[in-house]
């Protein structure tokens, strides 16, 4: 089912990008966690500053004094958008190019004339994409755990941290699959980055807007962020199994659609 030759080539081909993005994500994670002690020292000043924010905006962005008073809460406001976005940019754009790059550079002809079926090519490429995704995700998670130990002062809600990272993984995997689908329905482009950032940011803000006003509450349902939240201060915060399964099933469906398109695709010179 998986061609080891192709699998290792894909990992080698993406290693430079993987290293660069892993370093960016690690640096960003440490930066966020590193500034928490000084934010915590601001104490009352921070509370006053937060109070000036309109309640709806603060709610939409998950920014309030209570959330920012703990390292877990402070981290969650960044993790829920920026870290997901950074990892998502790498994994989704890799997903968008892992097949289309061969077509754009004309190497599809080389690959598809080898004794390997399109099904095996697709599955192998998806497995290498999954490996790359898990690598950057694990590196970031390990780095965050270290950062929590270093900067958390022993006051860490590990349960909330775990839930947050499970939700993060499901979101990242979902966004990654949308990248694969993008490449099936658009001509091989030089860069899918703009589209990827648009999708992730766009879906985040759709969810944020849905929290601001009731008339647009329905917008939240089209955003994956609606199903997997990062509200760590919610006393009932727990893993949204239905949300995670829903997104993973949707991602699976997206991959199936992408595979069907790839199976019948004409490879022109």
């Amino acid at each position: 089912m998986i061609n080891y030759n192709l699998y290792t080539k894909e990992l080698k081909r993406n290693r430079k990008n993987l290293t660069t993005w892993s370093l960016i994500v690690v640096a960003f994670t440490l930066l966020i966690l590193g500034i928490f002690p000084s934010m915590a020292e601001m104490g009352e000043d921070l509370t006053k500053m937060m109070d000036k924010l309109p309640a709806e905006i603060a709610k939409a962005l998950g920014m309030d004094a209570q959330t920012w008073s703990s390292i877990t809460g402070f981290y969650s406001t960044y993790y829920g958008i920026y870290i997901i976005l950074l990892i998502g940019i790498f994994t989704t754009s890799t997903g968008a190019t892992i097949i289309s790059k061969e077509e754009k550079e004309g190497t599809s002809e080389f690959l598809l004339t080898k004794p390997i079926s399109r099904k095996t090519i697709f599955v192998t490429k998806m497995m290498s994409l999954f490996t790359l995704t898990m690598f950057i995700y694990i590196v970031q998670t390990v780095c965050a755990i270290i950062g929590f130990y270093v900067f958390g002062g022993g006051n860490v809600d590990w349960n909330a941290f775990t839930i947050m990272h499970i939700h993060g993984l499901a979101l990242i995997l979902f966004f990654t699959t949308t990248g694969v689908l993008l490449s099936m329905f658009f001509r091989p482009m030089k860069n899918f980055m703009g589209m990827v950032v648009g999708i992730i940011f766009g879906s985040y803000f759709l969810n944020a807007m849905s929290k601001i006003a009731e008339p647009v509450e329905w917008l939240g349902y089209v955003s994956p962020f609606h199903y997997l939240t990062f509200s760590v201060n919610d006393p009932n915060y727990s893993v949204s199994i239905t949300g995670a399964i829903f997104l993973l099933l949707l991602g699976g469906g997206v991959l199936f659609l992408a595979y069907r398109s790839y199976r019948k695709k004409d490879i022109n010179g």
């Binding site: 061609n3 030759n5 080539k9 081909r13 550079e105 004309g106 190497t107 599809s108 002809e109 080389f110 598809l112 004339t113 080898k114 004794p115 390997i116 079926s117 019948k264 004409d266 490879i267 022109n268 010179g269």
Partner: protein
Amino acid sequence: MLAIQTTELSKYYGDSIGIKGVSLEVREGEVFGFIGPNGAGKSTMIRALLGLLIPTSGSATMLGKDALTQGYEIRKQIGYLPAEVNYYDEMSSRELLEYHSRFYGEVDHSEIERLAAYFELDLDKQITDLSFGNKKKCAIIQSVIHNPKLLILDEPTSGLDPLMQNRFFELLEEQSKKDVTIFFSSHNLSEIQRMCDKAAVIRKGEIIAIEDISALLKKQMKKGRFVFKEKPKDVKFPEGIQHEQWHTNKLTFEYVGPLNVLVKWMSGLDLVDAILEEPDLESIFMNYYER
């Protein structure tokens, strides 16, 4: 067994024709030419055979297996040399050939070295730094390194200098002696003439002729050059004369038809000199093409 058999194979791109109703048979061990001008459908045909394009209708078998459903089994035994060579820029030639070989099993390092030396290819150079000719050499090596039973060549000599073209033909002769079937697509007729036993002529996506090369060459077509004392006022040409051109008192033409008709006609002319030649493949091909 037939190495290639297509039945009414068609590929349309929307309303435009790639290939239409192509039926041909290539026997095992044969060196089969596929002639046609650019855009005639040669590459579309090859791409449909290799499973790169999904045919609109018709069927194709290669080495006794269905090209659409048993492509994986077929591709184990096929070597393909594309017209345009696109490889992974980040690899060296050696890495590319090893990557290619691993799809078929073990890497035969000594054979890679032997062929690279034969074609004077620097295996450690990055693909991105190779000229088109050197990329083509790499493509030639990857097409034969896994000992295929069927070689599919699409404009194989483009980009090669004459010395390398000769070496390439020697390699093909070596392959042919090993009973490898060769499907040789080209618009270069002298190459087809040199290498092939049989050829199909494709025009606007349709096969217009399939002939043995020797039969093609022996077609009753003649090229004639007559010199008259002076240009006759009125010459009645027999049926079969075509492309006649006068240059003062000299007439050049092509003739397709029984030779005795031509000789009878000549006997009634006031000729100073007459030359009748066997046509080259180019003229025969053009004759087909213009029909």
